[in-house]
């Protein structure tokens, strides 16, 4: 009896077929991976499995029992829960209240806060989540928030949990913590459907994998029976390597004035030559994101200076960094990268108003022209420059952010988590753009938790607790880099 099953479900939105007769069974007690490129139908399948939408055809069942009607939210909650990429925890409320939202324990009609805190603490502890429940949920790190969501789902009686790209915003430490917790819950009889763009994670934690492509089911097989190349082929419909090899880029001359020179910036010094790609690696607590955000002016350094070419940057000033020739992709595209309601063209040209007209006037025509160029240059799947970025898939949104970073022909390009939550193809496009920028003579700094992002780099600098502990030329092995990131000398 499968824990959850979809029987030839179909769903269309207007003229688009989002799912075409897809069948899938999730065996109780397994971790089942669901993979596919952006737009393959994963999200639609999840919305059918969680009862947010009803299928046009086909059926969904849990433990052999047909799913309740869409309106019966309580019925769905007791069968399945989904931890979305976007958190459904309310940051202003305490952890305890989030767990018991809308079912707070009451005494004489009023909420018993003390009892609620105790019960929440108990409940979380029962599933091995150690969190102080009286603090506001916004104070929790992402991975703990996810665990709270999982525990809340379990407390409704559901033993089938869908994790929608849970690792997208986690660093290496947090990911291994999450996986350990998933393994522990699995042994307690919890079934997971795991959605991820990182195929390595599928091999690391999952038992079975299902691939969707173009709204259709392609394969379901035990993970151990599928090679990575087969999996990629199933996802893309053609045989291809995970990432094109970096190629034989010419050795970079490291003479003359460096493109970017960082001197004692809160204790960190580094130089990037023109045309050079440098990776910055480190665990979540290494301070690599903080360092990169300080370089581009999002944060103000307590001490130290940043030079772009000969020019000294004003600390903590993004406009100054931009005008000096820095282009950057911020860490979180939803928070800092994009204005969702604005068009592709407006987002892509946001950093370069001076290119759009004189004396503060903007030419919409010029803007849409630049937007169209960006759509072509970065292979953005959009109906046109006027489409709001909110309508685009994650990978294409990230391409818009990249286009924005490149809009001022930067001499220094700083990329923070440039491929977070995007599919294999989009990843290739994004990293190729970085390589091209280097070929044109820009110095590129890539800061990422994803080792694939660091592969094109000429050298990778490893940061541990705010100081540089190692530097590796291209061709490093994953395990040596990870060991260095964890502060272990391999």
């Amino acid at each position: 009896m499968p824990a959850a099953a979809a029987e030839s479900v179909s769903k269309r939105f207007g003229v688009t077929v989002a799912l075409d007769q897809v069948s899938m069974q999730v065996v109780p007690g397994e971790i089942h991976a669901l993979v596919g490129r952006n737009g393959a139908g994963k999200s639609t399948l999840v919305s059918l499995l969680t009862g947010l939408q009803a299928p046009d055809a086909g059926t969904v069942s849990f433990d052999g029992v047909p799913a309740p009607p869409v309106a019966d939210r309580a019925g769905w909650r007791s069968r399945v829960a989904c931890v979305y990429q976007k958190s459904t925890v309310i940051g202003e409320l305490s952890v305890a209240e989030n767990v018991f939202l809308n079912r707070q324990p009451r005494r004489r009609g009023l909420i018993g806060w003390k009892a609620m805190r105790e019960q929440a603490q108990e409940l979380l502890a029962a599933w091995g989540v150690q969190v102080e429940v009286s603090q506001p949920a916004s104070a929790l790190p992402v991975e703990q928030r996810q665990l709270v969501e999982i525990a809340r789902a379990l407390s409704y009686g559901s033993r089938f949990i869908i994790l929608d790209e849970p690792t997208a915003q986690l660093d290496a430490d947090a990911i291994s913590g999450l996986f350990a917790k998933m393994a522990a819950l699995k042994s307690q009889g919890v079934t997971f459907l795991f959605i991820s763009h990182h195929l390595a994670e599928v091999y690391q934690i999952c038992d079975t994998v299902t691939v969707l492509r173009d709204a259709r089911h392609v394969l379901t097989a035990p993970v151990s029976d599928v090679s990575q190349a087969q999996l990629v082929a199933a996802m893309t419909g053609e045989a291809t390597s995970l990432l094109a090899p970096p190629g034989n880029r010419a050795r970079v001359e490291r003479s003359g004035v460096p493109a970017l020179k960082v001197v004692e910036l809160d204790g960190l010094s580094l130089e990037i030559a023109a045309g050079e790609i440098v990776g910055l690696a480190g665990s979540g607590s290494s301070g690599k994101m903080t360092a990169a955000e300080t370089i581009v002016g999002l944060r103000k350094a307590a001490s130290g200076t940043v030079y772009v070419g000969q020019r000294k940057l004003r600390p903590g000033s993004v406009p100054d960094a931009l005008s000096a020739g820095i282009g950057f992709v911020p860490q979180d595209r939803h928070r800092e990268g994009l204005v969702a309601g604005l068009s592709v063209a407006e987002n892509a040209t946001m950093t370069v108003p001076e290119k759009l007209g004189r004396a503060g006037f903007l030419s919409a025509k010029r803007r849409d022209q630049l937007g169209t160029e960006a759509i072509e240059a970065f292979d953005i799947k959009a109906s046109g420059p006027e489409q709001p970025v909110a309508d685009l898939s994650g990978g294409n949104q990230q391409k818009v952010v990249m286009a924005r970073a490149m809009a001022n022909d930067p001499s220094v390009l700083v990329l923070l988590q440039p491929t977070a939550g995007v599919d294999v193809r989009a990843k290739e496009t994004l990293l190729a753009a970085a390589t091209q920028a280097a070929a044109r003579g820009a110095g590129v700094l890539i800061v990422s938790d994803d080792l694939d992002d660091l592969r094109p780099a000429d050298r990778v600098i490893v940061l541990y607790k705010g100081t540089i502990v190692d530097e590796m030329p291209r061709g490093w092995h994953d395990h040596t880099l990870i060991a260095a990131m964890e502060g272990v000398t391999a």
Binding site: R73, R77, S87, V89, I90, E92, L101, N102, I111
Partner: protein
């Protein structure tokens, strides 16, 4: 929780400071008569602040409250007053004046709910439209004049004294206390915070967000009508302009009191300290002998100064 409680008390230092300044300006300030006077003056509008705070916490706004404040008692007066000196239809017995006032508030809340929740129109513009329409209705039924000669029942609450304090002060304090409890200790109250904080998450948690929003909008209309009734009783009349322009003070008081315009944040107690602070400052200025012509400019300045005071004493950015 501890943090939230501290935030709640953020304006207390400012209120104490004003009390000290007030005493230095004019020792009369701390006389019980003066303080009761201030409390009574703010009691009517404080109900608007209470209503607005509830709506704001749920992530919405209701601009129409100031017009409800005038129209609800206005409609009652229009229906019960005999035609003659003032405009009136005289089709209802005077005993129905209070029920009609409150029902008018409920109906206005229902219309707001219908447009905002049911038809999913933009709440800011809907209630702005309602503000204008309702004000126009009051002008229409009163012919732009003032209703007076009101029935005894409409005057009672605005004039009665219960256990040494005016009834309107009691009502204001009782309602604020009740809603402090409701907001903090009932599922309905917590669902306001959940919806204002993240409506999708609230829906995912099984909260009937639409029903809660309907309820809070109706409640707001009802509170505004009651506030209007209190003022009507105190002044023994309903002017066509009753409540006009009050919404700005109401918003200012809520924000000064720490209620976020973005929803999900703030407390009812905070909102109360907000309106109290505004009226105390005004009172100090009056006692200080500020000429009447300058009161308007000063009222605006007070709001800005109070905002800054709240920013300094609470130590956090306002939203």
């Amino acid at each position: 929780m501890k943090l939230a409680r501290l935030r709640d008390l953020a304006l207390i230092p400012a209120i104490i400071a004003i009390a000290v300044v007030g005493y230095l300006v004019n020792p009369v300030f701390l006389n019980s008569e003066n303080l009761i006077n201030v409390l009574q003056q703010q009691s009517e509008i404080s109900l608007l602040v209470l209503a607005q705070a509830l709506v704001l916490i749920a992530g919405r706004m209701d601009l129409s409250l100031e017009s409800t404040f005038g129209l609800a008692p206005g409609v009652a007066a229009w229906l019960v007053l005999a035609p003659g000196i003032t405009h009136g239809l005289g089709i209802l017995p005077p005993g129905l004046a209070i029920p009609v006032t409150l029902a008018a508030g409920v109906v206005i809340g229902l219309i707001n709910g219908l447009l905002i929740v049911r038809f999913q129109l933009n709440g800011f513009i809907v209630t702005l439209g309602m503000l204008i329409v309702l004000r126009g209705l009051l002008t229409g039924i009163s012919d732009g004049k003032t209703f007076f000669n009101l029935p005894e029942s409409m005057l009672y609450l605005g004039n009665a004294v219960w256990i040494g304090l005016p009834a309107s002060i009691w009502l204001s304090l009782i309602l604020f206390t009740a809603f402090i409890v409701i907001a903090g200790y009932t599922r309905f109250g917590r669902s306001l915070y959940a919806i204002g904080g993240n409506a999708d998450a609230a829906r995912a948690a099984g909260i009937r967000t639409d029903r809660v929003l309907w309820t809070v909008l109706i409640l707001a209309g009802l509170l505004a009508a009651l506030g209007g009734l209190l003022l009507t009783g105190r002044l023994a009349s309903v002017a066509a302009a009753q409540g006009q322009g009050a919404i700005f003070t109401v918003f200012a008081a809520a924000v000064i009191g720490g209620v976020s315009l973005n929803g999900g944040k703030g407390t009812i107690f905070g909102a109360f300290t907000g309106i109290l602070l505004l009226y105390l400052v005004q009172n100090v200025l009056t006692l200080g002998g500020v000429p009447a012509q300058w009161i308007g400019a000063l009222n605006g300045a007070i709001i800005l100064i109070a905002l800054m005071l709240a920013r300094v004493t609470s130590g956090r950015a306002q939203e």
